[in-house]
């Protein structure tokens, strides 16, 4: 029995000819957990907003959406608000009220339920979510993960039959994301709520999703169980979507000569079983590239920082040297001080104790403008970078700052290289996240900075953009820029960094090249590394490395 039916759904935005969605038809069964993926701009967000009719974007729609046997536009407003719930991407933007309790009650109050009913529902839900301790808190004091759980709870209070989620974990750290997904799974299993979730991070979802659908260019590219989808992507040698296949299934598909759909491992546990069934890999350790001509560019010497005079140290006695020609990744849990560390290195906040040196010169002695031009900082949210109406104006201001006569040519070359020169006339806010990031990067690159400090560059990025961004970093690195980045994304760090550091409690917990760094970690490591740990195979941390250093000699024993 299907709860949602899409029939030849097409959509185009006003004043635009191209269709964001083209003739999409599919059914969603009651109680199904469906994950919707695809590169940005593929129409997935538009699709779920059309299903949530009350916030449907303006534009031309063709085709029908049937919810529970009724056309979506015939549904009374109360029913629509109650029966289809929606959780959005940004944890902050969805919150309306100052206190958690008010926020939870907001939807029920809107629908005019009696005070008794509201109180009963809220009490139930708070217990289910274990939110008792948060009830009296101010919403702005919560962590991102807590905010998103409150958002989920407040939507669930309306008793929806269909829950729509628009990249709900893209702004969360991996631990909070996992917690959120677990909660969604419980809602699906214990209440039978149908789930339609748009998400990029498929790795965590493979185990919980019943069905996966990948969209491209407004059309359905793949549809089926996670295993079927991964198999078909591999089978068609699809370049766009190969980045969407998580590393464990990807590895097994690459190594098996005749893979079978039902044998594709999804988790570490299944992966280990699969690995133990095969033998005969001969391993050959790839030598690490040798460092040539390195010098110290940026160093922290006993740096201490705290935000409030009486507060706790965020960075305490931090010592680290960054060398030229590195892609240096700083990883660590939430609140470990990663972003603070990057800001102190960028000279944007001043440590209370300790010194930061740039090429052996104390930061305090270098003129600020000059320093910011040689040690450039790319913020996590590139929107904050833009003041003017068009990219062109922003770029010309960036050129002015460098006092470079050839600035214009340089900027042209850079925007050409980044593939954003055609966007010069656009308003920064009309761009996608990836384009905006590149536009900000262009402003930084024009001064030819020696060091690029990058804060969480892959947050909310789809796998393909992530891969492209990683390649861009490698290119910049090759051009002689030293890159320091802060990231939650272990897989990304393992793949592209040349050295990794773990920050814990404001101090360096460990630092080394990615292979020995992750091989030394038990939990904080890539899934491929967790997969091979304890097997008799050569330890590796990424699919690429595994494929390069293992050679399959014998066939697979079934």
């Amino acid at each position: 029995m299907e709860i949602l039916k899409l029939k030849n759904l097409s959509f185009s935005y006003p004043e635009r000819d191209d269709e964001v969605l083209q003739q999409i038809s599919f059914d969603v069964k009651k109680g199904e957990f469906l994950v919707l993926g695809g590169p940005s701009g593929c129409g997935k967000s538009t699709l779920i907003k059309l299903v949530k009719h009350d916030i449907a974007p303006a534009g031309r729609r063709k085709g029908g959406i049937i919810f529970n046997g009724k056309r979506i536009e015939d549904l009374p407003a109360e029913e629509l608000a109650g029966e289809i719930g929606m959780v959005f991407q940004d944890p902050d933007n969805q919150i309306v009220m100052e206190e958690v309790l008010q926020e939870l009650a907001f939807g029920l109050e809107n629908l005019g339920y009696s005070t008794d009913y509201i109180r009963k529902r809220v009490a139930e839900m708070v217990q289910f979510f274990g939110l008792e301790n948060l009830l009296a808190r101010k919403t702005h004091e919560l962590s991102g993960g807590q905010k998103q759980l409150v958002n989920l709870a407040s939507v669930l209070l309306l008793n929806p039959k269909l829950l729509l989620l628009d990249e709900p974990t893209s702004q969360l750290d991996p631990v909070a994301a996992k917690e959120f997904i677990t909660m969604v799974k419980r809602i699906n299993e214990e209440f039978g709520v149908t789930i339609l979730m748009v998400e990029h991070r498929l790795e965590e979802l493979t185990a919980v999703a019943d069905r996966m659908m990948l969209l491209n260019g407004g059309q359905i590219a793949y549809d089926g169980s996670p295993r079927e989808v991964f198999f078909n992507v591999w089978d068609r040698r699809d370049e766009i979507f190969s980045a969407y296949v998580p590393s464990i299934p990807s590895l097994s598909l690459h190594l098996n000569e005749n893979p079978e759909v039902k044998e594709i491992p999804l988790s570490v546990k299944e992966g280990r079983m699969w690995l133990s069934g095969i033998n005969g890999f001969s391993a050959e350790q790839q030598p690490l590239p040798e460092a040539v001509n390195v010098r110290k560019v940026l160093s922290c010497d006993s740096v201490c920082f705290r935000y409030e005079r009486k507060g706790e140290n965020v960075l305490s006695d931090l010592n680290i040297d960054i060398y030229s020609n590195e892609i240096f990744a700083i990883v660590g849990g939430n609140g470990s001080g990663k972003s603070t560390m990057l800001k102190t290195m960028a000279g944007l906040i001043n440590p209370q104790r300790g010194t930061i040196r740039f090429k052996n010169q104390k930061l305090k002695k270098i003129p600020k403008q000059e320093f910011h031009l040689s040690v450039a900082y790319l913020p996590q949210n590139p929107k904050l970078f833009f003041l003017h109406d068009t990219l062109e104006e922003e770029w010309s201001r960036a050129i002015e700052r460098t006092n470079d006569e050839n600035g214009n040519e340089k900027m042209n070359r850079i925007t050409e290289m980044l593939g954003i020169s055609h966007l010069a006339e656009h308003h920064p806010y009309d761009l996608s996240g990836g384009e905006l990031q590149k536009a900000a990067l262009a402003c930084l690159l024009v001064s030819d900075p020696e060091v690029l400090l990058i804060d969480e560059p892959t947050k909310g990025m789809d796998p393909l953009s992530k891969q492209k961004f990683g390649e861009l970093l490698t290119d910049l690195h090759f051009d002689g820029h030293t890159i320091v980045m802060v990231t939650h994304d272990i897989e990304f760090a393992a793949e592209y960094a040349t050295r990794c550091m773990m920050l814990f409690n404001g101090q360096v917990a460990s630092v080394s090249d990615p292979r020995s760094f992750f091989a030394g970690n038990t939990f904080y490591t890539t899934s491929i590394n967790r997969l091979v740990r304890g097997s008799n195979l050569q330890e590796v941390i990424t699919v690429k490395e595994a494929l390069a250093s293992w050679r399959v000699q014998a066939s697979i024993q079934v």
Binding site: A81, L111, T115, Q369, F385
Partner: protein, 270 residues
């Protein structure tokens, strides 16, 4: 009340009662922090009044050929006490009536305005945090508000706010969607809170009304208000005046009694 009973005894008593109330509520710190500014403000009023106001018959002395009268001095003194009482009352008021409670009261009478205020209140800390982030990012572009000419700093300051404006209005579209998707505007809103009075509340309100009416009657009969002009009235009080004074004390001291009873019970009956 505090602004109408312009009589030194009434006002001194009111100030003392209100100070005890703030102390009982544990607001020593707040009182101490403001003590200095309160002191200068009252001093200012006491000093300014006789300088600009020359009415009255009891001339104390001449200041720059202008008479300084006892009446004007008394007037300044009364005004200062009245302001002091109100400012102290507001310390206690801000403690008791938190923004949440304030808007809760509001939302019964003006629901839409209260919702607007709540939304605004929810945005403020978010915007302060965003402004901090913007400040740091823009600093890397050389935009600063801590050094340079005042004109440039003012310009940079508003530029930061401009980024905040554009960014936040863009983000807030999602807030509007989130409201709509949870049924905002579908029907008349109900409330999680119960607006009911307990028996105690009703008794308290009736008592306060009676006291208030008593004070008012006293006021209209010329009690509790020192006549200053043309001739300063004596501050001494007669029999009927005393009863009005007691009513006034009970009225101003009511919250003190309630708070005191609570604390007594907590301490000795628990």
């Amino acid at each position: 009340m505090l602004m109408s009973f312009l009589h030194p005894f009434y006002l001194i008593a009111a100030v003392l009662l209100l100070i005890s109330l703030t102390l009982l509520q544990g607001l020593v710190e707040q009182l101490r922090n403001r003590a200095k500014s309160f002191f200068f403000l009252t001093l200012f009023i006491v000093a300014v009044n006789p300088l600009v106001n020359h009415r009255g018959t009891h001339i104390l002395f001449y200041f720059r050929e202008n008479p300084v009268t006892l009446e004007a001095l008394m007037n300044g003194f009364l005004m200062a006490l009245s302001l002091l009482a109100i400012l102290i009352l507001f310390i206690s008021y801000n403690f008791v009536l938190t923004p949440g409670r304030f808007l809760y009261l509001f939302s019964k009478i003006l629901p839409q305005t209260a919702l607007l205020a709540m939304l605004t209140l929810r945005f403020v800390p978010l915007l302060i945090r965003r402004l901090d982030e913007i400040k740091i990012v823009q600093k890397s572009k050389g935009m600063t508000i801590t050094e340079g000419r005042v004109k440039d700093r003012a310009k940079n300051g508003v530029s930061l706010v401009q980024i905040l404006l554009t960014w936040s209005l863009e983000e807030a579209l999602q807030t509007a969607d989130s409201m709509k998707s949870r049924g905002y505007g579908v029907t008349k809103r109900s409330s999680y809170e119960r607006y009911t009075f307990t028996k105690n509340d009703i008794i308290s309100i009736v008592l306060l009304l009676v006291l208030f009416a008593g004070c008012l009657i006293g006021l209209f009969n010329g009690y509790g208000n020192l006549t200053l002009y043309p001739d300063l009235e004596s501050t001494s009080m007669g029999g009927a005046e005393w009863s009005v004074f007691v009513l006034f004390l009970l009225y101003i001291g009511f919250p003190l009694l309630v708070e005191g009873r609570e604390q007594f019970r907590w301490r000795y009956l628990n």
